[in-house]
């Protein structure tokens, strides 16, 4: 892009180059909380690849805030594949020419091998009887969520609330914005990130309801005990996608296209899908979804494409400076 970026990317390249010296290796640049999923997935793929080609393959992982990660890739971090939690982040790489423009058609299911849903975590016994989005905007309810403008997790909650209000009888964009505004007034703080929101809610005991991913509920149970909270599924919520893509520029340069393609394809294999389910991410396979039905209750979901005309449009309308989020605060 600019000289400044090249200067920064020089530093990153130097680190990436030392990483990439092993014979057959693959770098998967991923979002922050994907550690467990890919820690379990990588040995599965290594076994599969060994059996298929006889090749030993070294798999490297890099985790960090999703947007920071794609910026590093754009600035020269040599990722063969990216596995993200926001379509916008992959879109950003497509704009930079690193990823195919039609990346979301290169793999099934919008290139998202598994999904999750935005849910409510409430205190044991649900003392404020929170059942649906409407309850979150009531007086006297405190809502905990990560920053709705700066974090993927917070953005997903924001869009879920908006879509729910829009789908109510007589719903309109103005009505939805007013509703989301009332809901956000009930937030005593905006947490720095998903895990910070969890700590605030569970450990510091602030708030009546925590908005988060379904898959986080299991981690909370492991950390704080199952009896400490309840999960509430609202009447309508966002199905969050976790898009994956090949970084064309890198795989062509390194000659790893076949390997990288296989690495991502295998996410849709029965083993890959079951691994996702074991990590509390909803698999795409209907069969596995049935098998793990106890952990994935049926819930009515929408996608960003359904309601907001795609992630790029949703982002521009709501989260860019001057977008709907800023209007809630600034236009007063």
């Amino acid at each position: 892009m600019s000289r400044f970026n090249q200067f920064l990317s020089g530093l990153l390249l130097a680190t990436a180059a030392t990483l990439a010296q092993a014979e057959v290796s693959l770098l998967n640049v991923s979002y922050d909380v994907a550690r467990d999923v890919y820690k379990d997935y990588n040995p599965l793929f290594q076994k599969f690849w060994k059996a298929k080609t006889g090749e030993e393959v070294t798999l490297k992982q890099s985790h960090g805030g999703s947007t920071k990660q794609v910026r590093a890739v754009a600035d020269g971090l040599e990722a063969d594949v990216v596995t993200m939690n926001q379509a916008n982040d992959v879109e950003f790489l497509a704009e930079k020419g690193l990823v195919a423009k039609d990346w979301n058609r290169k793999f099934p299911n919008n290139a998202s091998p598994y999904t999750s849903a935005m849910v409510f975590i409430v205190r044991k016994g649900n003392p404020k009887s929170i059942r649906d989005w409407g309850d979150l905007a009531k007086d006297g309810v405190q809502v905990i969520l990560p920053h709705p403008k700066n974090t993927g997790n917070g953005r997903n909650s924001y869009l879920s609330a908006w879509a729910w209000a829009l789908k109510q009888p007589g719903g309109s964009d103005q009505g939805a914005q007013a509703f989301v505004g009332r809901l956000l007034k009930n937030a005593p703080l905006f947490a720095a990130g998903g895990r910070d929101a969890t700590t605030t809610f569970m450990q510091r005991r602030i708030g009546d309801v925590l908005l988060t991913f379904e898959c986080e509920a299991e981690l909370i149970a492991r950390e704080f005990g199952k009896g400490e909270f309840e999960v509430v599924y609202p009447s309508l919520t966002l199905q969050t996608e976790f898009p994956v893509a090949l970084v064309d520029k890198v795989v062509d340069k390194k000659g790893t296209r076949k390997l990288a393609q296989a690495y991502l394809d295998y996410l849709w294999s029965p083993e890959g899908q079951e691994n996702a389910a074991r990590n509390y991410l909803r698999p795409r396979s209907a069969e596995l979804l049935k098998k793990y039905a106890a952990q994935f209750p049926a819930v009515k979901t929408f996608t960003v494409d359904d309601v907001f005309g795609g992630p790029a449009k949703a982002f521009a309308t709501h989260f860019k400076d001057g977008g709907s989020f800023d209007q809630i605060y600034v236009s007063k």
Partner: protein, 285 residues
């Protein structure tokens, strides 16, 4: 240096030393800052001011500079007391207390922020006593001041210690024998000697607080127009893939900081000279 007949210097290696210092400073400080300014210049002055004078940006600048000044001022007062205690008095465990002062230097700031938020939250060890008094600290601008005070303390203490060590107790004794009251001794003798170092410590703590991000975001609450700091808005711009907007905010912060630090330095220079002047005057027969 440019004078044609400069006298030979007593110490060797000026040319080499100066060259090294300049190259090093350029590499570490000037080039990155220059790149930042160059990048933001793509927007033009008008574009930068547009971004910096938005309602949220202005509110964030107020919070950032206000909280940083408050924290540096608190550290100026209490850091001076701590430094004085550590130099002038002997007590058991003094070494331990002395090394405690450095901890905020060493602790990752995110850890500091999370710990402080836990302590000052409504059910935290400190927060549970403050909240019944109607004093909310965590997730308010007050929380920002607490975090910034924490990270700024060592700057004030460590700057003051050597200066206080240099003041001989005999000076105070002399003042006492000449009939000065304790208050007079402090105001006329001790404080003028400490003041320049205190200003240095203050400006270091202030500058450190301005750029602080890691500890603040965990305790601030980050509500727009209330408890957002400018570094958070910079991150927000980056989350929008808006590198230019982020550099614009950074440059504005840099410019304001530079002006303030320059003012503090001038004040310090004035204080140091005034002090020197009075000593010379007093030495006259």
């Amino acid at each position: 240096m440019s004078a044609p007949h400069s006298p030979p210097r007593v110490l060797p290696g000026l040319g080499l030393g100066l060259g090294y210092a300049l190259v090093y400073l350029s590499l570490i400080v000037l080039i990155p800052l220059g790149a930042l300014i160059l990048k933001s210049s793509e927007l033009g002055l008008h574009g930068i001011l547009d971004i910096a004078t938005g309602e949220r940006a202005l509110a964030a600048l107020r919070v950032t500079f206000g909280a940083s000044l408050a924290a540096a001022a608190i550290n100026g007062v209490f850091g001076l007391i701590v430094a004085w205690m550590l130099v002038r008095y002997d007590f058991p465990g003094k070494r331990l207390v002395d090394s405690l002062v450095d901890l905020p230097f060493a602790l990752p700031t995110a850890v500091a922020g999370i710990t402080l938020a836990t302590l000052y939250a409504g059910n935290g060890w400190i927060g549970r006593w403050l909240e019944p008094l109607g004093l909310k600290v965590a997730y308010t601008p007050l929380g920002i001041v607490v975090a910034l005070t924490f990270i700024g303390l060592p700057f004030v203490v460590r700057t003051l210690q050597p200066v206080i060590e240099d003041i001989e107790p005999e000076v105070e004794e002399a003042a006492a024998t000449l009939g000065a009251s304790r208050w007079q001794t402090f105001v006329r003798i001790l404080f003028p000697a400490i003041f320049p170092a205190l200003l240095t410590g203050f400006s270091l703590a202030f500058a450190r607080a301005l750029g602080e991000y890691g500890s603040v975001i965990f305790i601030a609450g980050n509500l727009p127009l209330v408890s957002e700091i400018t570094p958070l808005l910079i991150i927000s711009k980056l989350e929008q893939y808006d590198l230019l907007g982020a550099t614009a905010l950074a440059v504005v912060m840099l410019a304001i900081s530079f002006v303030l630090l320059l003012a503090i330095n001038l004040l310090q220079w004035w204080a140091a000279n005034r002090h020197r002047g009075s000593v010379v005057e007093g030495a006259r027969p």
